[in-house]
């Protein structure tokens, strides 16, 4: 009943799709992280006026589906003549860049919320001690608050990386040949819906396991101070 001949002959297509998926996810994560950091720092500010814009950003991007956000950029930007006539149209007319922008903005929202939570969890004693040592505000953040923040954020961030990987499948909807897009092509050429999509699912599963493994390793290193003492 199953027809895996065509899958094996199309394996290169799946690997090309995998490569596109990895590109999109990695770039989105890096961009999103650097966007998330200032957003999270502003969101923990004591000034309410500074806090409102980052919190609204987080609320919007966490409260709406990634698919809709991507459509707003891919289908939506063409609505504005100013954008269509300007130079940046080169970016917005390409599905690839639209997906990347949507993914980066989306993961920035989730990452900022994770970081906001862990910044606020910084034990006050650490801040007090740093101040007693005469650290300036930037040194305090650089040496005390941020390292601890990243460490506490690691498990939640690992989940976010997996969510981003899984969410990135929507790129296949807007003509990009990522893993899901590759499965769509194989399905439409040979009409093997079950085999084609299951194969993509298997690839995603493997990448997920690799990410989980990497984060476990990273956690082992970063939480070294919490290991039980060995002789």
């Amino acid at each position: 009943m199953m027809d895996y001949e065509v899958i094996f002959s199309n394996i290169p297509l799946y690997f090309e799709g995998l490569w596109v998926t990895i590109q999109l996810v990695l770039m989105a994560l890096v961009l999103g992280f650097f966007l998330a950091l200032p957003i999270a720092l502003l969101a923990t500010s004591k000034n309410i006026l500074l806090r409102v814009p980052p919190k609204s950003y987080i609320y919007f991007f966490r409260g709406t589906p990634l698919l809709v956000q991507m459509f707003m950029i891919y289908h939506g930007m063409g609505q504005f003549e100013a954008i269509r006539e300007s130079v940046i149209w080169i970016v917005f007319k390409e599905a690839y860049w639209c997906a990347l922008i949507a993914f980066a903005l989306n993961t920035a929202g989730y990452t900022a919320e994770i970081l906001r939570g862990t910044i606020e969890q910084t034990p006050f004693g650490e801040i007090e001690a740093a101040r007693a040592c005469g650290m300036s505000k930037t040194t305090l953040y650089r040496r005390i608050i941020l390292p601890g923040t990243f460490r506490r954020a690691l498990p939640a961030y690992g989940n976010e990386v997996i969510f981003m990987l899984h969410g990135s499948a929507v790129a296949g909807v807007i003509t990009i040949v990522d893993l899901f897009g590759a499965a769509k092509i194989v399905n439409s050429r040979y009409f093997v819906p079950f085999e084609s999509f299951i194969t993509a699912g298997f690839f995603y599963l493997c990448v997920t396991f690799i990410i989980v493994g990497l984060f476990k390793k990273l956690e082992f290193r970063w939480y070294a101070h919490l290991h039980p003492r060995t002789i």
């Binding site: 609320y59 698919l67 289908h75 909807v173 499965a183 819906p193 079950f194 699912g201």
Partner: protein
């Protein structure tokens, strides 16, 4: 920019479908989650193994991929079985495929949430139940179940919010939910951004209302819990 050209009622119709899909799949996911949690905590190794395979595989594959597998692949499977057994043609509608898949996916997340909730019920309360001479089923229905709700509620709320957003994917398999309708209206009026923004706002309405509801439920189930 906010001239909707009379398409708003159509979008709201789509929203109704979105809410329907979300609520139906929530019911499926709660049932599956309960079964999964009990299986994971059971004494039978086979049940534990099956539940672990279920949660691991489902949480490792993107929802969109699972949905297309069920929608396209499920149709082929039903056709093949139907052909062999000489049934009449059975059509798997996008509604059925979407609802079942989302329910199935979030059943895996609910399994973990409910398992945690059940484990968080304190042992003394269960022991007290047995000391009163309750049977296992009575202990479960009268003590464990009502008490685990309180612990599982925050996780349940999170799962529900994610589930509600996931329903947007049913538009990809052709179900005319509000994302699909926004696409149609956006194409007809050449204002796709406006309509997708409206849909985004409606999603915020859904999550906002759910948040209020969940807070109310949380208050009810936390009666008698002391907090500062």
């Amino acid at each position: 920019m906010f001239n909707l050209h009379g398409y708003f009622p159509m979008i709201l119709e789509g929203m109704l479908l979105t809410v329907e899909v979300a609520l139906l799949s929530l019911v499926i996911s709660v049932v599956l989650g309960m079964i999964g949690a009990l299986a994971k905590l059971s004494n039978y190794r086979l049940a534990r193994g099956a539940a672990t395979v279920y949660t691991t595989i489902i949480r490792g594959i993107p929802d969109l991929v699972l949905m297309t597998v069920v929608y396209f692949g499920g149709q082929m499977l039903v056709n093949d079985i139907g052909y062999a057994l000489e049934w009449e043609y059975i059509d798997i509608s996008p509604f059925v495929a979407g609802t079942l898949t989302i329910g199935f996916i979030f059943g895996a997340y609910m399994t973990e949430t409910f398992r945690g909730g059940i484990l968080a019920v304190s042992k003394e309360e269960i022991e007290a139940g047995y000391a009163f001479g309750m049977k296992r089923s009575q202990v479960f229905l009268r003590l464990t179940l009502p008490l685990m709700v309180r612990h599982a509620l925050p996780g349940f709320g999170n799962n529900w919010m994610v589930l509600a957003k996931t329903t947007a994917l049913v538009s990809v398999i052709g179900l005319q939910d509000m994302v699909f309708k926004a696409g149609m209206a956006g194409g007809a009026t050449r204002q796709p951004f406006t309509f997708y923004l409206v849909v985004a706002m409606l999603f915020l309405v859904i999550t906002g209302v759910s948040d209020l509801g969940l807070r109310w439920v949380n208050r009810r189930f936390s009666i008698g819990v002391r907090s500062a």
